[in-house]
């Protein structure tokens, strides 16, 4: 009964989404305020029914209702309750229901938090979001219904959740990632609404900014979590593989980053309007493209697409409709007038434009590398190939170096024009310090000069010190420490968010360069009592003991780690066999640290108690994700800047004045 209730709630949600797509928009066309005002209530109703539907599916998992095909295929009676809850998004159908629910959440959030928006604008925005939701729900109902029953009930215990997904990382990673993906629909809806109304002004950019920052913050942490999960769960110690699923999330992030910067220019200076609209369309389109790549089956093989052509074709047609009509609208309605604001060659506008160009070129490079194997395979009928990290690293790394290089002067540059002499005087000492530190630190600590550590320490120092110099210059006129601190606080949450996010980028870049250069690993055969030395540490293997988990049995190894004769850690890597799927999983054990991770994975048993072991020493690997966390806090901080609320009130007052006169 409960699955049917969930199915029915989903159908009702579809009805409400259709109404939301049509009624407020009709209200705008017919200048009918009542119809426009219905958007809020419809958004709330839509969210409630999506939530009900989602809750029903969760309940089916908790009750082990194996008559539901999706539950039978992705859960097991023995699964702990928290994995039953997260198993809801463990496979295609349920995860898309979560995606749709999150879409409903964003729609409701926009409806609730936009009381200062002109009614017609809000009606348009919510209608666009309703139309997108119609597509998502139709996709669920027509091709991916998670509530489908198999009667008579064949499964007694359920096939179990894929063991790779039975993990904390997977509980949190998809919701964060989807919140980011889907969050770009808000910027998209604002862009479409602005194009429809012809009101592409600073106010539009200001309304979009907090939502974009918020979506970007979630996407940043979502990607970081995914990378962290791959690192500890896949058992190879790798944290980024340039595979199509990762690229699918990385492309919207890159364009989203460009969008954040371009929105700033449009709000503050009223320029780059068409470009900003295009980025807003592109960011969400790439989210949809990512969904297409991941969900159509083209990843396993183009031939898998042919096995389930309905699903892939639906997304392709949906993509064509959404992106095609958005770009057509853009072509017809985007302003062609040259902006009236003037700026010079050395100004913040130009710096941000350069940032945008680098980010968009990077996205194009990733897109090319991701689609090329798919297109190749489909056009020639050949097998699956990868262009792999050699291609991506060769193209991507130089672009990122360029981007990092620009991250020091850009925050210091002023709008309209920046004195070259002033910029030079601010940055020359920073440059000097960066070069000195970049050479000195790696040399002193490792005794060797290697390209990437030197370059990354230089760039990290370059960015960090430039931010510091900028902050100090902004409070230069304040007398006394407390006045200076107050001055810093008055720079606002937006400014603080920028600083945090930029620091996050520097930290991630440092982590990537250092861990790539300095990581060491060894594959060894160890019998109990034998040890292996890697760097300054010795790993003593004490043997393996059987262990029984809730839905698996495991061989658990014990490895004691010594440094300078002192024990510093005990690690318990496992080799698990999950009973329902008879799948063997390597569960690495990690001793995490701010400066280094010690990582031990159990390989194969080699007889007589001996095992193959893989031991990694991974310096600075945490920094890769810690930077992502900083970026998230930066994005959140900027999104909740009070300035938006204040300016919203001003917009409201201006509007009220306009109506009164």
């Amino acid at each position: 009964m409960i699955p049917e209730l969930g199915h029915f709630a989903l159908i009702l949600a579809l009805m409400l989404a259709v109404l939301l797509a049509v009624v407020p928009m009709a209200g705008v066309v017919r200048r009918d305020l009542t119809l426009q005002h219905s958007a809020g209530a419809l958004s709330a109703g839509l969210f409630v029914f999506l939530l009900l539907s989602y809750a029903c599916l969760t309940q089916a998992f908790l009750q082990d209702d194996f008559s539901v095909a999706y539950v039978a295929n992705n859960s097991n009676a023995l699964l702990p309750w928290y994995y039953k809850v997260s198993a809801v998004w463990g496979a295609h159908e349920g995860s898309f229901l979560l995606w749709t629910l999150i879409m409903g959440g964003w729609t409701l959030a926009v409806a609730l938090r936009s009381e200062a928006l002109p009614t017609a604008m809000l009606a348009r925005v919510l209608s666009v979001m309703g139309a997108l939701t119609v597509g998502f729900i139709l996709f669920l109902l027509m091709t991916s219904n998670p509530f489908e029953r198999v009667l008579p009930v064949a499964a007694v215990e359920g096939a179990d959740l894929n063991p790779q997904l039975q993990d904390f990382g997977l509980i949190v990673h998809p919701p964060m990632l989807y919140t980011g993906y889907v969050g770009f629909s808000v910027a998209f809806a604002f862009a479409i609404a602005a194009l429809l109304s012809g009101r592409l002004d600073a106010a539009w950019a200001r309304w979009s900014r907090p939502w974009t920052n918020l979506a970007w913050a979630f996407l940043s942490v979502g990607i970081a979590l995914g990378s962290w999960w791959a690192y500890y769960e896949l058992g190879w110690g790798g944290w980024w593989f340039w595979d199509a699923v990762e690229n699918a999330s990385f492309m919207p992030w890159l364009v989203g980053t460009a969008l954040i910067h371009s929105l700033a220019v449009t709000e503050k200076r009223g320029v780059f309007k068409s470009w900003t609209v295009l980025l807003a369309i592109a960011a969400f389109s790439l989210s949809l493209l990512g969904a297409f790549i991941v969900r159509s089956g083209v990843l396993t093989s183009v031939h898998a697409f042919a096995v389930d052509p309905e699903r892939g074709m639906f997304i392709l047609v949906f993509l064509l409709l959404v992106v095609g009509s958005a770009l057509a609208l853009y072509a017809l309605r985007a302003p062609v007038m040259r902006a009236e604001a003037r700026y010079e060659g050395l100004s913040r506008e130009v710096m941000l434009l350069a940032n945008n160009i680098v980010l968009v070129v990077s996205t194009a490079a990733v897109l090319l590398g991701t689609l090329y194997p798919l297109v190749y395979e489909s056009l020639t009928g050949g097998g699956k190939i990868s262009v792999g990290p050699p291609y991506f690293n060769a193209v991507f790394v130089p672009l990122m170096v360029l981007l990092l290089l620009m991250m020091a002067p850009a925050p210091l540059a002023r709008w309209k024009r920046t004195g070259a002499a002033q910029l030079m005087s601010s940055l020359s000492k920073v440059a000097l310090a960066s070069v000195a530190l970049g050479l000195a630190l790696p040399l002193v600590i490792t005794g060797a000069l290697e390209l990437w550590p030197v370059l990354s320490v230089m760039l990290g120092t370059w960015i960090t010190l430039a931010l510091l110099v900028d902050a100090l210059e902004r409070v230069r006129n304040k007398q006394g420490l407390s006045a200076k601190l107050r001055g810093l606080k008055n720079l606002g949450a937006g400014y603080g968010g920028m600083v945090l996010a930029h620091l996050g980028v520097a930290v991630t870049a440092l982590g990537i360069a250092l861990t790539t250069t300095y990581s060491t690993e060894r594959d060894v055969r160890l019998a109990p009592g034998e040890s292996v030395t890697l760097g300054p540490r010795t790993y003593l293997f004490e043997g393996v003991a059987p262990l029984e988990g809730p839905n698996y049995v495991a061989d658990q190894g014990t490895v004691r780690v010594f440094q300078n004769g002192q024990p510093i850690a005990v690690l318990h890597p496992e080799k698990r066999r999950y009973l329902a799927r008879q799948m063997v999983m390597t569960e690495a054990d990690i001793d995490p640290g701010f400066f280094r991770d010690l990582y031990v994975a159990l390989g194969e048993p080699l007889g007589e108690g001996a095992w193959a072991l893989r031991v990694h020493d991974k310096p600075f690997v945490r920094w890769v994700w810690f930077g992502g966390v900083l970026m998230m806090f930066g994005g959140l901080m900027a999104a909740f800047d009070r300035r938006y609320r204040r300016l919203k009130l001003r917009d409201q007052a201006a509007l009220a004045g306009a109506l009164a006169s």
Partner: protein, 183 residues
């Protein structure tokens, strides 16, 4: 900026969508003719992965062999590796690896971990041999006959079907005795 230029993104998108659609809707995909088919294996001077000893084209010739382009960064290579191991263990056909744009120590560790089906692997760190071979990506597999002429090319993973239906017949035509060994 004119109105026409604003249509550029739409045009680009439609072009891309058309290619995707055409690609995925094709039911009868056709093999691109390999420019190298029935051409001699390109000349090269490289080193062996195992010990760094020099290896050149003429060292490989004599009997027909399989040339397999692989790398540790390539997930599909990992997927096809079990089949290569099986072929090497069961049939009398030499396999030669081309370790394409890879890291030497990582590649050696990889072979130690997953098994080494190759008689030898040629180190192609700069990818120059790959360019000569017209490699699109990894993995790719070539059949080279005893005179060093390329007789077959497979882009993508070799699986049981590809082996039975495509590679084995070609090798048998070249005169290799590939009888099923007694179970």
């Amino acid at each position: 900026m004119s109105r026409t230029s604003l249509f550029l993104p739409l045009g680009l998108f439609l072009l891309m969508a058309f290619m995707l659609w055409r690609g995925f809707a094709l039911n009868d995909p056709h093999e691109l003719p390999s420019a190298l088919l029935n051409q001699p294996l390109p000349d090269f001077q490289k080193t062996r992965l195992a010990d760094g000893a020099p290896v050149a084209r003429q060292d490989l010739l004599g009997t027909p062999f399989l040339l397999n382009v692989w790398a540790t960064w390539c997930p599909t290579c990992k997927a096809e590796h079990a089949e290569l191991n099986r072929i090497a263990a069961r049939y009398a056909v030499p396999l030669v690896g081309v370790n394409y744009k890879d890291d030497g120590p990582a590649a050696r560790a990889w072979l130690a971990r997953y098994g080494d089906p190759y008689r030898l692997s040629v180190v192609d760190e700069d990818g120059s041999l790959g360019i000569e071979l017209g490699v699109y990506g990894a993995p790719e597999t070539f059949i080279v006959d005893g005179d060093g002429i390329i007789r077959y090319k497979r882009v993508g993973a070799v699986d049981r079907r590809v082996w039975e239906e495509e590679i084995r017949p070609v090798l048998q035509n070249l005169g290799l005795p590939l009888e099923e060994p007694p179970a």
